[in-house]
Assembly symmetry: C2
Homo-oligomer: 217 residues x 2
Amino acid sequence: MRDAFHDELDAVRDTLIEMGRKVGIAMEFATTALLTADLAVAEKVISEDTQIDQMQHDLDAKTLTLLARQQPVAGDLRTLVTSLRMSADLERMGDLAHHIAKLARMRYPATAVPPELALTIQEMGKVAQRIIEKATTVIATHNLEAALQLEKDDDEMDKLHRKLFLTLLDDAWPHGIETAIDMTLLGRYYERCADHAVSVARRVYFLVTGEYASDQN
Amino acid sequence: MRDAFHDELDAVRDTLIEMGRKVGIAMEFATTALLTADLAVAEKVISEDTQIDQMQHDLDAKTLTLLARQQPVAGDLRTLVTSLRMSADLERMGDLAHHIAKLARMRYPATAVPPELALTIQEMGKVAQRIIEKATTVIATHNLEAALQLEKDDDEMDKLHRKLFLTLLDDAWPHGIETAIDMTLLGRYYERCADHAVSVARRVYFLVTGEYASDQN
C-alpha cells in the first residue's frame, strides 16, 4: 500500500514537471508571437492555456484525494501541500503567458512591441523562459543550490523591467500612450511570471528543509 | 481531543476573518493616501503589511501542524486545505494595497492621481473595499448566495478598469507617459485585488459544496 502511495507521489511530481514544461513552452511561444506578430502562434498559446488549467484542476483533485485517503505525515504531507501551492504558481504563470499572447493577438497585424523595446522584451522573454526551466528542474531534482540561484535570474528580470520604464519615460518616446500602456502591462506580466518561478523554487526549499529560504512572496 | 481540534479550526477561521479585516482597512487607507497625498497614511499601510504577511506565515504553520497531527478527513481536511489557499489570496491582496500605498509615497508631495481620474480611482477603491468586506463575510458565514454575488462586484471593477483606460487613451489626456504608467499599474492592482476576493469566495463555495462555482482563476 505504501509503495503504491509513493508511486502516486512520484506521479504528482511528474505532473508538476509537465506543467512547468508546458508553461515554459507557452512563454517562449507567447514572446515569439509578440515580437513577430504571429497570430497562429498567439492563438496556439491562448487555446493551450486551458490544458494547463485542466492539469492544475486534475492534479489538485488528486492531491486532495491522496491527503484524505492516505493520511500522510511529515515529508509526505509536506510534499502534497507544497504540490497544491506549486500547481497554483504554475497555473498563474500559464495565465501570464496567455495574457502576453492575447496582447499579440489584439495588436495583430501590427507588432505589439515597438522597435525601441524589441530587444528588452526579447530579453525579458528569455529570462522568463530560463527561470521557468530552472524552476522545473528544481521541482525534478530538489537541488537547493539551484533553488537559491533563481533569485539571481529574478534580479536580472527586475533590471530589464527598470530598463523598460526608462525607455518609456525617455522624452524621445514616440509611440504615445496606448503603446506605453501595453508595454507597462507586458513588463508586469514578465516580472510576475519570474516572481512565481522564484516562489516555486522557495516552496521546494521549504519542502526539502522545512524552513523558508527567505521572506515568502 | 476532537473538541479541542474543532476549537482550533474555529481559530483558523477567526484568523482568516481578521486578515480580511486588515486587508480591507489597508485598501481603504491606501486609496485615501493615494487620493489625498497623505504620506503618514501611506507609511502606515506600508509598515502594517508585514503584520498581514506574518499572520499568513503563522496561520500556514499552524494549519500544517493541524494537518499533520490531527489527520483530518472530509470536511475538516477541506477546511484546512482551503484555509491555506485563502490565506495566500488575502496575503496577496495585502501586497496590492501595499503597492498602492507605495505609489502614493513615491509621488508625494504631489497627488499620484490626476483630477481626471480621481473619481474613477475612488470608485475602484470603494469597490475593492466592498468586495474585500464581502469576501470576509463569506469566510465568516459560509453564505453561498453572497459568495456568488461577488462576481457582480468584480464585473463593476472591470467596468471601472475599462473606463480608466478610455480616459488614458483620450486624445485630450494631458498628463504624459509617467502618469499613464502609474495609472495603468494602479488599475491592475485594484483589478487583481478584486480577482483574489472572488477567488476567496469561490474557495468557500468549494469548501461548503465540494464543487467548483465556475472556472477557477
